[in-house]
Symmetry: C2
Subunit: 378 residues, 2 copies
């Protein structure tokens, strides 16, 4: 399944792995795929540590980094977290607290609470124009970083110029055909067409419809990866049939022994059915596909407070989530995950997943070949 994007980037397989976990990035990359580290939750110092570790373990292979690079300066995003916390209405805070208190979930110890807040400050700091550029500067000091993906909109012109000058490929996420044309005009070289079935922030359009539309909008110069609904080799074959040059997977790595989820979280993951990966606004204020839980559903009930705008809803949710994980409460636990979650039912290793994907891909290709035996002479 080696496609032109593999040749351009120098990997064997067009299987791109998005992960916040360096172990997953390394194992996918070593197995011939292309690991992409989600960097926005790290401080510049932490990112430096992670990338050094990855460099040491991938034996010279290329890999990528995913960052959120805002195009415009957003005054609110520069506000301090303390200031933002003051903007969360008492009604919302009381609703979340009552929900967890009534369910018998203990509050966080003070040090844990501080750690969460530090993470929020980091994460938010990275989403300012300056913060994102600080992360980029770290990434560009690592010559094996051959791809930078902008997780939100087209990257700004100065970033595109710098990346292209340094021979780092510029990528961007896309949930609508018309966004593809905008990315292309901004100089993006790789577009990840992400269908509604994907985990995390997603749009409404399904991968089956979105990918051909993005491919058509991109022409030959821009490569397209399919994201959303990819956890089996037959789905990779389907994505390539739709015109994608590869796939971008996230959920499938969560169930591996290398993943960042702890055993309690993995148990929930393995038990979650496809129909329980729902799009809800509880986590960030914008629709995120995530595991359905009492916490995600409480905000949907009549009488619940209206969702807060980003980033306020996320600040409120993050602390509640940490309480739930600490208390190991399956009924309240949620995590961003795609509809493929119903296909992830036991722990595996990244290497095993990579091997399985290839075998299943070959099976699918062979099945198609047998359906059209004559056309090979065309």
């Amino acid at each position: 399944m080696r496609t032109p994007i593999c040749i351009k980037l120098g990997c064997e397989l067009p299987i791109f792995a998005f992960s916040h976990c360096r172990d997953v990035v390394v194992e996918v990359t070593k197995a011939g795929g292309f690991g992409v580290l989600g960097a926005s939750t790290f401080s510049p110092e932490q990112l430096e540590t992670e990338l050094c570790w990855i460099d040491e373990h991938v034996a010279g292979r290329p890999y990528g980094v995913d960052v959120i690079i805002p195009t415009r300066y957003d005054k609110q995003s520069e506000a301090s977290t303390e200031h933002l916390e003051a903007l969360i209405p008492d009604e919302h805070r009381a609703f979340m607290d009552k929900l967890l208190d009534d369910a018998g979930v203990p509050p966080l110890p003070a040090d844990e609470r501080e750690r969460i807040h530090a993470a929020i400050v980091n994460g938010r700091g990275n989403m300012t124009p300056d913060g994102a550029r600080r992360l980029l500067r770290v990434a560009l000091n690592h010559p094996q970083v051959k791809l930078v993906v902008s997780a939100l909109g087209s990257p700004p012109p100065d970033v595109v110029v710098e990346l292209r000058e340094r021979n780092v490929m510029v990528g961007a996420m896309c949930g609508k055909g018309e966004h593809a044309a905008r990315h292309r005009a901004a100089g993006v070289q790789l577009i990840v067409a992400q269908g509604t079935e994907a985990g995390g922030h997603t749009g409404d359009i399904a991968t089956m419809v979105l990918v051909p539309q993005v491919v058509e909008a991109c022409g030959d110069e821009v490569a397209v990866l399919a994201a959303g609904g990819i956890a089996k080799g037959s789905q990779i074959a389907a994505a390539l049939a739709l015109g994608a040059q590869g796939v971008w997977c996230g959920s499938v790595w969560l169930g591996t022994r290398e993943s960042e989820l702890d055993p309690f979280e993995k148990e929930v993951l393995f038990e979650t059915r496809t129909e329980d990966a729902v799009r809800r606004r509880a986590r960030t204020g914008k629709p995120v596909r995530m595991i359905k839980s009492l916490l995600s559903e409480a905000w949907e009930q009549p009488g619940a407070p209206a969702y807060l705008p980003t980033p306020l809803q996320g600040i409120l949710y993050n602390e509640a989530h940490a309480r739930v994980v600490r208390a190991k409460r399956k009924d309240l636990y949620s995590f961003p995950v795609g509809q493929v979650v119903g296909m992830i039912n036991e722990e595996s290793s990244v290497r095993d997943v990579m091997y399985r994907l290839q075998l299943e891909y070959l099976d699918a290709i062979e099945r198609l070949r047998q359906l059209s035996p004559a056309e090979s002479e065309d």
Copy 2:
């Protein structure tokens, strides 16, 4: 792309066309595909007329019929339409009337109103256990009808026995992996796995995820068709890669010159973007993917009355829809359609669509073949 289901049913191509329009059924069937007439809106006498016409035009080729066969007797479904109309609250009626009156849409003339109501009575009569069996009896008098698809749940045991005895294949629609096992246990031989991107009543799960799950639940005995997101040959290739034996398409025929839509309706269809095929409850009380319009959105606004249960919402909506079509009001017009609507931009003929689908399919297969040149020796 000839798959085992083609051999079983006696068609050339595994392209199944769902349509309420006999011309589409005939043209698809003549072009080597398999037309399936949506029968539930016809009276038994009308259905007899339609099927005789189809028989005369398909030159002995097989085709199918789609009916709604309730498993249980439902007292409300037997109630007269007049009785049901009385159950529609004044608030709801006033809301719909005000919306159209304010928009300057004239009320229906009395005869038009009567025709609409007769159609509702027909349609509803066909959805009772007896009504559905009356339609089936008509269909079974036409030996070229080789497939009967139940549009709602598994068909009841007596229907399955009768169809199988007469060598008519039994099909059913499915939106969740777990429904597939139920269908299989009920004796269903063909399952249409319909993803959320499809038009009409749909679930939440995307075709890319649903099809492999249904295929896995079905084993080798039951054939699976992919529905939702199929309007190009590359999407057929993707569906077959996922393990489907064929595709079931609806929206793509709406834009043909043979379709039942009038020129005004087709204009709206060609202008509708993928993101404007939204899932709303305005039409039937259950989520239907349909064209976004002022009429579909009005019911979503704060202060709008709550949706009525099926069939009341549909009775209310049908008359409003007829008013809008008669007034040719694009801003208020809606119709069930899938996300592929963004790919349907000009009038074509059924034959041209069938030809295009095959060419695009071969292109996709050839692209995959070139990516895996070596594996043919396996």
